[in-house]
């Protein structure tokens, strides 16, 4: 699928690290280990931002920049490098580099700059709108979202209004359509979504949901498996999150749908779900497909938001996986720490780490906050963030920051974003808000 950012670094480890960092912050990116290959892709794709290393064996950053400028003079290019001397810096300044960050760089700094150049993708927009929709519909009397699907849901948490809406859309689609695309991030509860659907369609729910990578859909072994199986799976997940969405992929997609629709198996009760990456452009009209097949697709592709935007679902999963004994072991502070964690790896990360906590609680009665921190940040390359006071204030300030970054217009000064969104200027300054010191509306905490 077409992504907004391209990363170039000959060091694979660094490229992968950066890629994960961006993904964890909700940005989809392609990466290339070779600048020449990157130039070809810049020509083909409509990237909004390039992030590149300077020293690379095939060509240096200045040459690369010159070529990239020739292809698109307005494309923002951020250079990350530790080994640039003055003449090199001057050279790239005169070719019009957008920003030079020195290694080791400040992650916040990078993300803030990425936000300046990358337009909110369709689903980031969806997140922003979902945030606004929730907020504008809030009647301050806990109004409930009305749902028609069998509720409460059995597998996917629907404690949050966001998931209630997601399931409601999916339920309405699943009643009349066979092929159901939806958007979500890596690590999200896609199996739980499939299990919910199996439940709705009267299938026996097995946790062993059939999930295949889109890349495998045209392999003989895959197709034979479907043909040799007794029936067709009641719910099938096809994962498109790592797909390069080019013409070949579109053709392959059309072939796949054709296979499903004409394989001769009874598929009347089957639902096929397509897991799309956040922000991707998926247009049925761009996929040459028989009209009869296209009509079997749902028209609404809902977004399963990332866990950090669904605090109540996080709480529901914590309750699902931790018993009283484990909760006692980590204590109230520990539970707060779990709620405050942004879960960049989604449900899968949550599940793994709660299992780890269960294991630890077998060994000792108490789990200290440091131990918990180590579990939560085990996979972070950098240092574990020092413990901060966890309360509604810290949580709200983080959410406030996310809200502001999500609502920033491309190129807009963050201060202007805050002013545009509104601030209680009698009691608080814009700088305090941007430095995470204050809420834009401090009265919220008091009320």
């Amino acid at each position: 699928m077409s992504k907004p950012i391209i990363l170039i670094d000959d060091e694979e480890k660094f490229a992968v690290m950066l890629h994960e960092l961006l993904q964890g912050s909700g940005y989809e990116a392609d990466y290339c280990l070779n600048p020449e290959e990157a130039l070809v892709r810049i020509k083909q794709e409509n990237y909004q931002l390039v992030i590149t290393d300077y020293k690379m064996p095939q060509m240096d950053g200045a040459e690369f920049l010159q070529e990239a400028r020739r292809i698109n003079p307005d494309l923002p290019v951020i250079m990350i490098s530790g080994l640039m001397n003055m003449p090199e810096l001057i050279k790239v300044a005169n070719i019009g580099v957008t920003l030079v960050l020195e290694k080791p760089f400040n992650i916040e700094d990078l993300l803030e700059n990425v936000a300046r150049f990358v337009k909110p993708s369709a689903s980031e927009q969806a997140t922003a709108e979902a945030m606004d929709m929730e907020a504008s519909e809030i009647s301050f009397q806990q109004e409930k979202v009305t749902v028609t699907y069998p509720s409460p849901a059995s597998f996917l948490s629907d404690a949050s209004n966001e998931n209630k809406r997601f399931l409601e859309t999916l339920w309405n689609s699943a009643n009349s359509s066979r092929h159901l695309p939806f958007y979500t991030q890596h690590g999200a509860e896609v199996r739980q979504v499939a299990m919910e659907i199996m439940n709705w369609t009267g299938h026996e729910v097995c946790s062993d949901v059939v999930r295949i990578e889109f890349a495998d859909t045209d392999k003989e072994i895959t197709l034979n498996w479907f043909m040799d199986s007794e029936g067709f799976p009641g719910a099938l997940l096809v994962d498109l999150r790592d797909v390069e969405w080019d013409d070949a992929a579109k053709e392959k997609f059309s072939d796949w749908v054709n296979f499903v629709e004409t394989c001769g198996k009874d598929i009347s009760m089957s639902r096929i779900m397509y897991v799309l990456p956040m922000g991707a452009r998926f247009e049925l009209s761009e996929i040459g497909m028989k009209e009869a097949h296209a009509s079997m697709f749902s028209s609404d592709y809902p977004v399963l938001l990332s866990l950090r935007d669904r605090l109540l679902d996080t709480a529901a999963y914590i309750n699902r996986f931790l018993g009283e004994k484990e909760k006692e072991a980590i204590g109230t502070d520990g539970l707060a720490q779990l709620l405050h964690h942004p879960w960049p790896g989604g449900y899968i990360e949550l599940q793994e780490k709660l299992a780890e906590i269960s294991r630890l609680s077998e060994l000792a009665e108490d789990i200290s906050t440091d131990q918990l921190s180590n579990v939560l940040h085990a996979d972070v390359i950098n240092e574990v963030p020092s413990a901060i006071c966890l309360n509604a204030g810290t949580y709200l300030r983080r959410r406030q920051r996310e809200y502001i970054l999500l609502h920033r217009k491309p190129g807009e000064d963050l201060k202007d974003t805050v002013l545009r969104l509104g601030i209680d200027s009698d009691n608080v300054s814009v700088d305090d808000v941007l430095e995470d010191k204050e809420l834009a509306f401090p009265g919220v905490l008091a009320g």
Partner: protein, 402 residues
């Protein structure tokens, strides 16, 4: 093209050297010896590029100078020339959007090349102002009556208006109800190379005296464009005064030309006997049609954005608002748009207007005052909601009320 450069450097010798280099290359050069002098010069002179030393009097660094310029709303490209710069300073300059950095000893050719590249790129961005043969697209050109030419019809209009702007005698501006004729006429007059006088008259204000005053005394030879608003509603006497004045002073060599604003094509007006033979013949057929707002969706959005931001800087121009604006018919065009914006802004006072205020402004009958009562911004509601959720989530996992 404006090739005017401001050099800011307190080293007189080096400043003279730079001045010589740029003057020989055909640039107009202004010089200043401090940032303060530079700011003064920018107010007086029409500068298109700044070349500055990185270390300025008063301990000012290039980055600080750049920031001060931006703070004053000066977004001109800046090139720094310096004896020495550390890496951190260069990275800062890049971050602040410097266009070029040159270290002494200076490579004159690459400095000149850089300057001309910057000005070329800038000119391209501005759509080659004033050269109507070269710029066929109409897009990127200066707007006419706020129409930028973003839509197909808008682009077409801009193209035709630019082509017509060099008219000698009469130009007929045809547009639907609510068209901002005066703004459009003034912008068309403003396209001329030399600054022309532009006078606007309409029904009730046309008299022989006022007309003859346009070319009286020392103004006799000075080019002037008379804009006649609602020309089809002029009284018989007014028409006669204009015809007499035109016969007397008009002609291909005359400094006088006229723009007549009409609601329909002259052919139609003549057929329906709204205008008589004499006026019909006088007007001619040099028509430019202004499309209705609803026919220019992209321009409508651009114009609405500007209008809204003029009224309320903090207003959000989001998808929902855009969809709402596009779904409206705008039968009274600009005038209606402007009044809707003003109404929405006043409904939302003291906060910036949101979609619901525009909905109410577009349909005053359905405005449900109660939905407008809540003046809290979405941002504040969001924070409030998040606080409730946080408390609820804590309660869920701990089993305790907060």
């Amino acid at each position: 093209m404006n090739k005017s450069i401001l050099i800011v450097d307190d080293d007189q010798d080096f400043s003279d050297l730079l001045k010589g280099i740029f003057q020989q290359a055909g640039y107009d050069v202004h010089t200043a010896f401090s940032a303060e002098q530079g700011f003064e010069m920018l107010e007086k002179a029409n500068v298109s590029l700044i070349v500055s030393d990185h270390r300025l009097p008063g301990g000012l660094t290039g980055t600080e100078f750049l920031n001060q310029l931006r703070k004053r709303g000066v977004n001109l490209p800046v090139i720094f020339v310096s004896g020495f710069l550390n890496d951190e300073a260069i990275r800062e300059l890049i971050r602040d959007g410097v266009e070029g950095i040159f270290i002494k000893p200076l490579n004159i050719f690459s400095l000149l090349k850089k300057a001309s590249d910057i000005l070329d790129a800038k000119e391209k961005e501005n759509g080659g102002n004033g050269d109507s043969d070269k710029d066929e697209s109409g897009k990127g050109a200066r707007h006419i009556g706020r129409i930028m030419g973003e839509s197909t019809s808008g682009k077409d209009f801009i193209k035709k208006a630019r082509k017509a702007s060099g008219f000698r005698r009469n130009l007929l501006l045809i547009g639907p109800k609510g068209t901002m004729f005066e703004d459009i006429a003034r912008d068309i007059v403003g396209l001329a190379e030399d600054k022309q006088r532009c006078e606007v008259l309409g029904p009730g204000s046309v008299t022989a005296d006022r007309l003859s005053a346009l070319l009286e005394g020392e103004l006799a030879e000075s080019p002037v464009t008379l804009v006649v608003n609602e020309a089809e509603s002029l009284s018989e006497e007014e028409v006669e005064a204009i015809l007499n004045f035109g016969d007397e002073k008009g002609g291909s060599d005359s400094p006088l030309r006229m723009i007549f604003c009409l609601s329909r094509s002259v052919e139609d007006l003549y057929e329906d006997e709204v205008i008589d033979d004499e006026l019909y013949l006088f007007l001619g057929a040099n028509e430019v049609h202004v499309p209705p707002l609803a026919k220019m969706p992209e321009d409508l959005l651009e114009i609405a954005k500007v209008e809204i931001q003029e009224q309320s800087k903090e207003a959000v121009f989001d998808t929902k608002l855009r969809t709402l604006l596009l779904s409206h018919q705008w039968e009274e065009n600009f005038v209606e748009l402007r009044s809707v914006v003003i109404r929405a802004v006043s409904l939302a006072q003291p906060l910036p207007p949101t979609v619901r205020h525009f909905e109410a402004a577009l349909d005053p009958n359905q405005a449900d005052a109660s939905t407008l009562d809540d003046v809290r911004s979405t941002f504040e509601r969001f924070l409030l909601q998040e606080k409730q959720r946080y408390e609820e989530a804590m309660q869920m996992v701990t089993g305790k009320s907060p």
